[in-house]
């Protein structure tokens, strides 16, 4: 008896250790991947952002240093672009949410009795993904251009001033961002609303809540995880986007976002430290905003 008890005792003690070793083994590829493709580039990016130009060197020649002033220069030079990026991204996120919520609600809740309609609408939401992001944005550029049908008819109806443009304005950039990120907002919302327990909505009505009250007191809080993931999936890439705001697409000289600035510093003026420090700033600001947002919306489980 004692022997048996002893044996099971040691087996129990060993079990967790063996398990953790297996877990480690399973995690190893992931850890290696992260080291190679996340940690190494991140360290290299931080080092680049602190580099100083080589004295009497060519344009684009830099040496390792600890020039933290790069950040000060980046913020003072491009503060406006940083603010504009987050402003545009915020607006695009709000518009995408306002557009996607009713859509996702319809597909996920109202269309439940017609599964075929649900699937068809989902395909319609996803279908634009099959065409390149660049092509779609270019298509919008020509649709919204001054020669396009929309602008010319608005001008003919005197709803737009004869010398006004739509492409090249902030509105066009926000429109492009909204359009391009709508599927990223709709899909998580749909995934959440599809599981919405309509009996709770019925209970709200039974307890004297008007449909609007039930929506804000029951449906929205219950779909919070979907809203949070949709907002993150839209806001983060939108803040760093440089396609929509580029003058070659929907933007103009006055609509440059942080992504466009990083691009021009990196590829045009070869100012690698400035581009790197701007990237780090973008990353840090997004990180802080995301953490604050998730904490405020009470969905810490996502972290």
């Amino acid at each position: 008896m004692a022997f048996a008890a002893f044996a099971t005792g040691t087996a129990k003690e060993q079990a967790p250790r063996r398990k953790s070793r297996i877990a480690l083994l399973l995690l190893l590829p992931g850890i290696l991947y992260m080291m190679l493709f996340f940690l190494v580039p991140l360290v290299s990016l931080v080092m680049t952002s602190l580099q100083a130009p080589v004295e009497f060197g060519d344009i684009g020649e830099y040496e390792t240093a600890f020039r933290w002033e790069n950040y000060v220069v980046a913020i003072s030079t491009y503060g406006e672009h940083i603010l504009r990026s987050f402003g545009y991204a915020l607006m695009a996120t709000i518009f995408a949410l306002l557009f996607s919520y009713p859509l996702a609600y319809f597909i996920g809740v109202k269309a439940r009795p017609w599964p075929l309609l649900q699937k068809l609408m989902l395909v319609m939401v996803i279908a634009p993904f099959f065409i390149s992001f660049l092509l779609r944005t270019l298509a919008w550029k020509s649709l919204l251009s001054d020669e396009g049908f929309l602008v010319s008819s608005l001008k003919a109806l005197s709803l737009m001033a004869p010398d006004a443009h739509f492409t090249g304005t902030g509105a066009a950039v926000v429109f492009g961002l909204t359009y391009n990120f709508i599927p990223f907002m709709t899909l998580p919302l749909y995934a959440n609303l599809e599981r919405l327990d309509t009996r709770l909505v019925e209970a709200g009505g039974d307890l004297y809540a008007r449909p609007a009250t039930t929506f804000f007191k029951v449906t929205v809080p219950l779909s919070m995880p979907g809203i949070v993931s949709g907002v993150l999936l839209t806001f983060i890439p939108a803040a760093g986007d440089y396609i929509n705001a580029s003058p070659q697409f929907l933007g103009g000289p006055s609509t440059a976002m942080i992504g466009n600035v990083i691009e021009s510093n990196f590829l045009v003026t070869n100012n690698y430290p400035a581009a790197a420090s701007l990237s780090i700033i973008l990353m840090a600001v997004i990180l802080v905003m995301v953490v604050v947002y998730i904490k405020r919306s009470g969905t810490e489980d996502l972290l």
Binding site: A203, V218, L222
Partner: protein, 399 residues
């Protein structure tokens, strides 16, 4: 809107010619029902007979295909749920998972702008003995606790009409008794109207003023619990509400106050006032506890029916009483409940016995027992299992 106020009395409920069809299925055939204000009305019936559907129609969560619903004399057929003076304790509880227990209970009060919603909610939680769990989320509660929160959330609103869909199903016997008393006292205190759905016939009989037995989307019979039990009108009610011994035979003779039916070669008398049908093939019944078991042939006495001799086939002792199964040739197996006035069973299997009962205790049905055996395909598994068992037993007897 100014501060709301509670209903000062119950409202009566009237269902007129209600029919409810789902795509491809008729859940309620035709329902006419009047529930007077301030009464405790129980709806009893097997699974899937349309009880929840009836409540949902009254609450406004489902639209009737035909017919109208009146609450307190007002036609509410086309009103939205939030406009009806009705609250429901849902069979699935439907507690809001993102709110604390206290906020769940205060939800209806806040919507109606009642003064001091949290205090009233706290009181309601005390009523169901959950005041110590007020700050928890519903997912952190046991099934029975969730059910009591659902009860508190509806009761706290003191609606003119309260709909309860198996509100005590998940509670243990002691708690269930206690909640039954609480419910009854709330109902009597304000004179609210309760429409209570239950599977538990004992609960229905002890709590309700009126019990309705529902079957396949129709109300089979409706009345005071004692009347329903002592004088069932159909074979379904006779067997759903307690147990019955049913015998079918031709009417031999009908006098001014009784009919005589031939059962197993014997004349069985039933008072005319207690029989629904007075000619042709008639099914008569008697409750098992009204039967007396005799070991000798009794002398023929006026006012007493006797069947026998038969053989005791099964004896099962259950403490308070003993159930005997007696095989009487020509009649089905007869069940007798005898109180254990003495120690243990009085007879053993194989004994030859007679059963007798007072003529006044018998009842005559309007349909026959065999009709009841025809099951609709959409009956619940328990009924199907019982039916299968009966079929099997019948087959074994034949071979």
């Amino acid at each position: 809107m100014a501060t709301g106020s509670f209903a000062t009395s119950g409202a009566d409920l009237e269902l007129v010619g209600i029919q409810k069809r789902f795509p491809g299925f008729t859940a309620i055939e035709h329902l006419d029902l009047v529930i007077p204000a301030g009464s405790f009305f129980a709806l009893l019936g097997p699974s899937g007979c349309g009880k929840t559907t009836t409540l949902r129609l009254v609450a406004g969560l489902e639209d009737p295909t035909r017919g109208s619903i009146l609450i307190g004399g007002e036609d509410v057929t086309h009103r939205k749920p939030f406009q009806r003076p009705v609250n429901t304790v849902f069979q699935s509880y439907a507690l809001f998972p993102h709110m604390t227990v206290l906020e769940n209970v205060a939800f209806g009060l806040r919507r109606r702008k009642m003064a001091k919603p949290l205090e009233l909610a706290q009181e309601a939680l005390e009523l169901v003995e959950l005041e110590h769990l007020a700050s928890r989320k519903p997912t952190q509660l046991s099934g029975g606790q969730q059910q009591r929160v659902a009860l508190a959330r509806a009761v706290v609103n003191r609606p003119a009409l309260l709909l309860l869909d198996e509100p005590l199903g998940a509670l243990d016997l002691k708690l269930r008794r206690q909640m039954q008393l609480e419910l009854k006292s709330i109902q009597e205190e304000v004179g609210l109207t309760f429409l209570h759905v239950t599977h538990d016939q004992e609960e229905a009989m002890t709590m309700a003023d009126t019990v309705a037995v529902m079957n396949k989307g129709r109300i089979e019979q409706l009345g005071a619990p004692e009347d329903l039990y002592e004088l069932p009108h159909t074979a379904f009610v006779a067997n759903f509400l307690g147990q019955s011994n049913l015998f079918t035979g031709p009417v031999l003779e009908a006098t001014s106050h009784a009919i005589a039916v031939e059962v197993a070669g014997t004349r069985v008398l039933v008072p005319k006032a207690r029989a629904r049908k007075h000619s042709g093939e008639v099914t008569v019944g008697i409750r098992p506890e009204k039967l007396r078991l005799l070991t000798e042939a009794p002398p023929t006495t006026a006012g007493v029916n006797t069947l026998g001799p038969g053989t005791v086939t099964d004896v099962s002792f259950s403490g308070v009483s003993t159930q005997y199964q007696v095989d009487v040739p020509g009649a089905d197996s007869v069940t007798v409940f005898a109180q254990n006035l003495d120690f243990g069973p009085v007879v053993t299997p194989g004994t030859e016995v007679w059963v007798s009962w007072k003529v006044d205790h018998g009842f005559g049905l309007e349909d026959s027992a065999s009709e009841e055996a025809k099951f609709a395909p959409e009956l619940d598994t328990a009924t199907i299992a019982v039916q299968a068992k009966r079929d099997l037993a019948a087959e074994l007897e034949v071979s």
